[in-house]
């Protein structure tokens, strides 16, 4: 197992290197710089600005400096959230934890990308976790139910609901939920991120789509497992249907769901761009889209890198759990 994890860890290095390089060159080689929007800037000021941000050096030198800055130099993940009690220091301290320095922001004077991420990421993480909880809490029972009552009205209803959930995009679902629950029933605020109740609609919007996928996958996985011999054995021994599902079938039946968690997390991360826009949540997703429009090079590449790192790390975790649940996979 340790060798498996180590090998997978090594494999992530080229992935992250490619992402970092692709982002770097994509941003540098495309026409238009971060300062092109401000027309009134004179040549001298522009030169000073570029010097300040290191843009006057030749491209290879910029690239080398960038790669060094983003290389993790220590491994202390427990320090990520170490200073939460003191207001001044960021909550999500990449520098203290890994020694990663993402540089100064081009558009927000006197702010570093590390600080901006520390500011915004916790909101996005919270949203993502709630959404994931909604997806699993709703999708798994629905899928198990559909599988246990295969080809009955309950199954068809659940499957149809799941299909509809997949086909209604978040940016339709979200506004519709707002229209009904916020503007019509006045149960929630239409947007904002201040009270606990403000979490409900965004998490539901983002979670429902993935609940639909989870339900479909759970149903398929459960159906496959319920046909196997050891289930028949359990049944022959007189185990109750509930016991069969909970004790015997669920472990194997949930494998497809766990495989899906990797892409789902990536999807929830990018889905949050839209959700954060709709509900005006001060998260990193909205910040990322804005920074791309603003050509804030360092903020864009820092965010992309962070997302990529998150996705790669979570995919790795998913793989490990999968191998743990199904040791046959290790040899493939």
């Amino acid at each position: 197992m340790l060798r498996f994890i180590l090998r997978r860890l090594l494999e992530t290095i080229p992935v992250l290197l490619i992402i970092a390089s692709a982002t770097f060159f994509m941003l540098r080689l495309v026409p238009g710089g971060p300062f092109t929007a401000e027309k009134a800037v004179s040549k001298e000021i522009l030169r000073n600005l570029q010097a300040h941000y290191g843009l006057d050096k030749p491209l290879p030198a910029q690239y080398a400096a960038y790669l060094w800055d983003i290389t993790p130099k220590r491994f202390a993940p427990w320090r990520l959230f170490a200073d939460t009690d003191r207001n001044e220091s960021p909550d999500f301290d990449l520098k203290a934890a890994f020694g990663i320095n993402l540089g100064p922001s081009f558009k927000y004077p006197n702010r570093t990308v590390n600080e901006i991420i520390a500011d915004k990421l916790p909101h996005s993480l919270e949203l993502g976790l709630w959404a994931l909880a909604v997806a699993l809490a709703l999708g798994m029972p629905l899928g198990v139910l559909a599988a246990m009552r295969k080809n009955t009205a309950a199954d068809y209803t659940a499957s149809t609901l799941a299909m509809v959930g997949i086909c209604v995009p978040t940016f339709v679902m979200g506004p519709l939920l707002v229209l009904f629950f916020a503007l019509h029933l006045h149960w929630f605020n239409a947007s904002g991120w201040y009270f606990a109740s403000d979490r409900v609609l965004p998490a539901a919007t983002l979670g429902l789509v993935y609940a639909a996928y989870v339900a479909r996958l759970t149903r398929g996985g459960m159906l496959e497992v319920l046909n196997q011999d050891y289930i028949r054995t359990a049944r022959a021994k007189g185990a109750s249907e509930t016991r069969i599902v909970l004790r015997h079938a669920l472990r194997g039946g949930l494998l497809p769901v766990i495989t899906f968690l990797g892409p789902a997390i990536a999807g929830i991360i990018s889905g949050s761009f839209v959700i954060e826009t709709i509900f005006q949540i001060p998260g990193l997703g909205r910040e990322f889209v804005t920074s791309a429009f603003n050509r804030d090079y360092t903020l864009v590449s820092g965010t992309v890198l962070l997302y990529a790192g998150l996705i790669v790390a979570l995919n790795l975790a998913v793989d490990v759990v999968q191998v743990w649940l199904n040791p046959r996979l290790k040899f493939e």
Binding site: V15, M26, M163, C167, F171, L179
Partner: protein, 318 residues
């Protein structure tokens, strides 16, 4: 459709059956899938042919009218500039459907070629090519599409100017952006296709008729494209059908973020975005585009599922 062997016609009255015909018969029994197929085709035909007969252009403003709810003159109502929503929906449908189909085609061509080469070559080349796919899989797609759309804006505008010097493209304002969408989305959607095709090729290439073709001295290109690729039709058709809705989803996602086609052109994504902004006072502006869009995605997904059952893709893979 796979060709039947030119054998003598059987004596019985029934027509000889082929895998393609079998699949068609199976598909026809699945009423939901057939209805979905009919819906998609009909929608496409209406979007392409109907707009000139509406009497309203997609950019015709009538400021004195403003936003009105659905009525006899404007079936789906109008937006706050007095533009007919139905006309905008149909013109938007042209763009959304076109992006869906063309970008899927781009993904199809890249994916099939890549997968076929990897599977057929085998060995080190295969290992390398699939490793690349694995790495790309780990990338956050959506983020890269967003980056491409933002940072290729200027090149796309240049492309737009260049393309519009041709007479037949003169009226297609914003075509550069649309071509950009094809490229950006096609560039990220081919990975799964490549995997599926490679798996299928690995199975097919061990079959005897491929050996026969090789014995006859046919070149690799000919064997790949004439003998192997036709046998991939089933999975490729199914997967392409399922790629179209996910491409359309991505396109409208980009439009929602303001990275899609520019006004006055509209895709369903931009219409939904506008509708969401104004839903408090004019809910029909959100409900109609959202409904049509979701219905189209639903139909395409149901059609894809039906095709999968009809072409028995899972069984063909095992």
């Amino acid at each position: 459709m796979k060709a039947t062997a030119p054998t003598a016609p059987p004596a019985a009255a029934e027509r000889p059956t082929s895998p393609g015909r079998d699949a068609w018969l199976r598909l026809r029994r699945n009423r939901l899938a057939v209805a979905s197929g009919v819906f998609v085709v009909l929608l496409g035909v209406i979007c392409v042919l109907a707009p000139p007969f509406l009497g309203h252009g997609y950019a015709d403003q009538d400021l004195s009218l403003g936003a009105t709810p659905p009525a006899a003159t404007h079936w789906f109502g109008t937006d706050e500039l007095g533009r007919d929503l139905l006309a905008r929906l149909l013109y938007g449908g042209r763009i959304s459907l076109m992006v869906g189909f063309v970008a899927s085609l781009v993904a199809l061509i890249i994916g099939v070629t890549y997968g076929a080469v990897a599977g057929y070559a085998g060995g080190k080349l295969d290992a390398f090519l699939m490793r690349v796919v694995d790495i790309l899989y780990a990338l956050p797609f959506t983020i890269f599409v967003i980056l491409m759309m933002v940072f290729l804006k200027q090149p796309m505008d240049q492309l737009d100017t260049w393309l519009r010097q041709f007479d037949f493209l003169k009226n297609l304002q914003g075509i550069g952006k649309i071509v950009g969408l094809f490229a950006a989305i096609g560039a990220v959607e081919w990975l799964t296709m490549a995997r599926i095709v490679r798996g299928q090729v690995l199975t097919v290439k061990k079959m005897e008729y491929i050996e026969a073709a090789r014995t006859l001295g046919f070149g690799h290109t000919r064997i790949i494209f004439k003998h192997i690729v036709p046998n991939l039709l089933g999975p490729v058709i199914v997967f392409t059908t399922l790629t179209i809705p996910s491409v359309m989803m991505l396109e409208s996602f980009l439009s929602f973020l303001g990275l899609g086609v520019d006004a006055p052109l509209s895709s369903w994504g931009t219409l939904i975005k506008d509708g969401a902004d104004k839903m408090e006072n004019f809910p029909w502006l959100l409900v109609f585009p959202g409904g049509v869009f979701a219905a189209t995605l639903l139909a395409l997904n149901l059609l894809g599922d039906g095709l999968r059952d009809a072409l028995d893709v899972r069984a063909a893979k095992d």
